[in-house]
Symmetry: none
Subunit: 133 residues, 4 copies
DNA sequence: GTGGTCTAGACCACC
DNA sequence: GTGGTCTAGACCACG
């Protein structure tokens, strides 16, 4: 279902949170569908159940899932997830724009970079590759 | 000179690195000017000299400063600092654009947000400092 | 596992970095195998854990190992290590050739010396260790 | 006469030793010519006389110069200097060849690199070559 | 006085 | 248990 990268310096539970959230944002885990149980997922990923438990708690705190005692954990409503994500993007953007200005990046440069980056996701085999080296 | 936020969960040395780098990026610490000595800054911030030392080592590794044993630490060439910073901005932007697409933010929305944000930097002169989750 | 030479004027952590890197380059520590823990190695070598920690941080920064909080430190991919090492050799060679020319050593002399030296590595199994100036 | 690079992480006295030795190796400071006095050179380079003194002591220890009490310091015999330098080159080469073998660099590769590097020395963009006063 | 290294001992986050 | 951060105090090389 997901993969853990032990070379990633972030804690494992954080990786689990991010990857599970991603699955929901992309709709692979649809609204109200049941998540794998803590024990099952822990066994699958060969990591400690405590770590998964912690990830699920965090996912619930962030509003991605809701847990029903004695039954399991379920994906929250889609519009909540999407809205939450949009807000995060704009919040990050605000910080980045500040940095850009401090670094002497003009709005024009910034906008042009955005245009070039939009839609370039994945397939890094063809095309130009990195632009700002 | 700078302030440490103990509510920030990031390590102190990392905060020092960020804040000192910011002073150089904004030109408040001009090229070749001498930084406060490890011991002085440590006393000022009421933290251990080792922690400052670690921050300075990191700043040197990242190319922001250069240190001379027995003399002091000095701000590196400005053009290097600015170039390094521009690169970081575009790298962060690339990641953010990906997230934006995944979150269903259209390029138009994104661009409009950028326009509104550019130049809107507010001066946080009233008491409150930065806040972290 | 490794030995510290206290007559060596270089810092201890640097010696540790060099010696551990050497073990990986020679394949004695194979890819993905776990390194001794910071505390264990510190006890073995009778030096402070902080010093080992510093060495491991440097090894990670140079790409030789990766560390996982709560789990341990592991040897990075071999091909990266080997490639990194080859590059270092050629870089050093370039500097040395320059010096050789300045010292009036002809290319022929240089080449002959190389031929004589290749494969002449002696096994220092008899008591004596490395010596430094 | 020479220039100090404060960005260089080596101690200043070591830079002075290296640069003065280089001037002698290249014949710019001919055999038996007098070196600038400690105080003069210190003033010229705007550094502490102690630092120059230390450099001269080191140069004498290494056999590059000889000092006459009450008169000054003089460049040693050329053949000694050249011979010393040749030996250093071969000593460094021996170490490097060992590393090359450990890194999996074949003798053929090594030799080819040497051929390509010989004679490729780039000329420093230094303007005027001042002789000694 | 300056940067750089090291020790001893502590606490934290993570697994 | 592991790695990561921090403190307090010390010594060294350098200028």
């Amino acid at each position: 279902m997901i993969l853990i990268d032990y070379r990633d310096r972030r804690p494992i539970y954080e990786q689990v949170v991010e990857k599970m959230a991603d699955l929901m944002i992309r709709g692979i885990l649809p609204q109200d569908s049941q998540l794998p149980s803590v024990r099952n997922l822990a066994t699958d990923l060969a990591i400690n159940p405590n770590t998964i438990q912690r990830a699920y708690v965090e996912l619930e705190r962030q509003g991605y899932i809701y847990s029903v005692k004695g039954k399991g954990s379920y994906v929250a409503e889609n519009h909540k997830i999407r809205e939450k994500n949009r807000q995060e993007v704009f919040k990050s953007l605000e910080v980045l724009v500040e940095k850009a200005e401090a670094a002497g990046v003009t709005m024009l440069e910034f906008q042009e970079a955005v245009i070039q980056m939009y839609g370039k996701k994945k397939k890094p085999e063809e095309g130009g590759g990195k632009q700002h080296d």
